[in-house]
């Protein structure tokens, strides 16, 4: 019995979360589409500052819900402007600022579709049986894709082909693994290493995605947080964004 208690307390001692890094850390909520450019930007920031940047990638809707329920993030990088604005209005965040402008494209891993003239022809193509669109209620890129589909009056024609993953990164993953024949995803995914193995089509009808960010009220070390927020629009960060198709 005594040995059991001793073992139990030793276990608790090891499991207790001790702070491991002496420096500070930032916790950032990032919309799934911005994952790859964000990782590069974060690495660059870490090399110039004694801070470790920890990011969580999920759909904007998912992250907003978490923030409203007290998730400990310092900054929120959304894929739209509405959500940061709503958080700011409700008192969870400071005034939002734009950090990137993205575009939604249609991407497919199937090389035989690359010659097709436009995205409408791709979605109507008989060999395209399943198309992934990120759930429009939680992912702004998915909402933009649905808007493009509705504007082209294709909704009824392709409704039976649509599959709704939770976020834009999962949509791209479905297409990259060919679980679906094509997916509406962020231009940055199409320009990534994996994306270059397939081909993408511009979706002109989709509204441009203006991505807003906001510093959250919960953030403790405002100096570092604001430094990062400004870094997002610095020339170095901008060149990284441009590489991934953001403006």
């Amino acid at each position: 019995m005594r040995r059991f208690i001793l073992f139990f307390f030793t276990l608790v001692l090891f499991v207790y979360p001790y702070p491991t890094v002496a420096g500070e850390s930032l916790h950032i909520a990032v919309a799934a589409n911005f994952m790859q450019p964000f990782k590069e930007i974060a690495k660059l920031f870490e090399s110039e500052n004694p801070v470790s940047v920890n990011a969580t990638f999920a759909s904007s809707g998912h992250l907003t819900g978490q923030i409203m329920n007290g998730a400990p993030y310092d900054i929120f990088l959304s894929a739209d402007e509405e959500r940061p604005a709503a958080l700011s209005q409700k008192g969870f965040a400071e005034k939002p600022f734009v950090y990137a402008r993205g575009r939604v494209v249609l991407w497919s891993a199937k090389k035989e579709l690359c010659g097709v003239s436009g995205w409408q022809e791709v979605v109507k193509h008989p060999s395209v049986k399943k198309i992934a669109v990120a759930s429009p209620k939680v992912a702004p890129y998915g909402a933009a894709a649905m808007a493009a589909i509705e504007q082209s009056s294709l909704q009824n024609m392709i409704k039976h082909k649509l599959v709704y993953p939770e976020n834009i990164a999962q949509a791209f993953q479905y297409a990259a693994t060919e679980s679906v024949d094509a997916a509406f995803c962020a231009l940055s995914s199409a320009l990534s290493e994996q994306g270059k193995k397939g081909c993408y089509f511009e979706v002109g009808e989709a509204p441009p995605i203006v991505q807003g960010a906001c510093v959250l009220m919960r953030a403790k070390d405002r100096q570092t947080v604001n430094k990062f927020a400004n870094f997002l629009n610095s020339p170095e960060a901008n060149s990284i964004k441009k590489k991934y198709g953001y403006k």
Binding site: S59, G61, H62, T64, G65, M68, K129, K130, A132, S135, K137, V138, L162, V163, Y164, P165, E166, Y174, T177, E178, S179, V180
Partner: protein
């Protein structure tokens, strides 16, 4: 409130339970009888879906049911349409996910059957199949009912696996667990709350039924 996801969940659970009990009963019976080398390994393999995180299962199911996986390609050659992201696809996913919940109670029930009853049946001229249908099944019915209820409950509650291989298509794969999740994600808390309130009494009554059945069978043995 949108009732479609709930009806879809109930339909999915009914179909999966029906198919799984029929498919798993012979397997459970074989396991209860046979003693062979490697039996422990086979049993652990069958129990694997219970131990793995549902997302692991979902990930592998997506691979094998997808257009490049062996199950997906097999399905496509037979039916001409893809298996992944369809109702049939999630039924198959649930058959694998719920297999251990079907096998365990049935195997336990079969093991409790008195061997002398079986021997009498054989002596009286019944074939093994007839013995199975007319002697074994009636005498293990409470175990079968327990297995059916467990599979049903786990089918309604399945989330992680279906999130990976379902694609959340309304009317086809958007079951109530996923609908609740999406409602929470899009901050529609009232809608989510309503669906939860409807689901709780349904699941509870099945659990109560399970309790009554198993208690009754314990009273007899």
């Amino acid at each position: 409130m949108d009732w479609q996801p709930l009806f879809l969940s109930l339909k999915l659970a009914a179909v999966s339970t029906f198919l799984l009990i029929i498919l798993a009963a012979p397997l459970a019976y074989a396991l209860s009888l046979a003693r062979f080398v490697g039996k422990a390994f086979l049993e652990a393999l069958i129990n694997l879906p219970m131990a793995l995180p549902p997302t692991v299962l979902g990930f592998y199911l997506l691979v094998i049911m997808g257009p490049k996986g062996f199950l997906g390609r097999f399905w496509e050659t037979i039916t001409g349409s893809p298996l992944v992201f369809t109702f049939q696809g999630i039924v198959i996913a649930l058959l694998i996910y719920c297999l251990p919940f079907a096998i365990q109670p049935m195997k336990a029930a079969f093991e409790k059957i008195d061997r002398s009853m079986l021997e009498s049946a054989y002596v009286l001229g019944l074939s093994p199949l007839a013995t199975f249908l007319r002697v074994i099944i009636p005498n293990s019915i409470s175990g079968l009912a327990a297995a059916a209820i467990l599979v049903f409950i786990h089918s309604i509650g399945a989330f992680g696996v279906l999130l990976m291989v379902g694609g959340s298509i309304p009317g086809e794969t958007k079951v109530v667990s996923i609908a609740i999740y999406e409602a929470v994600e899009s901050l529609a808390y009232r809608e989510a709350g309503r669906m939860c309130l409807v689901l709780i009494p349904i699941s509870y009554s099945f659990l109560l039924l399970l309790n009554l059945i198993t208690r009754r069978s314990r009273a007899w043995s």
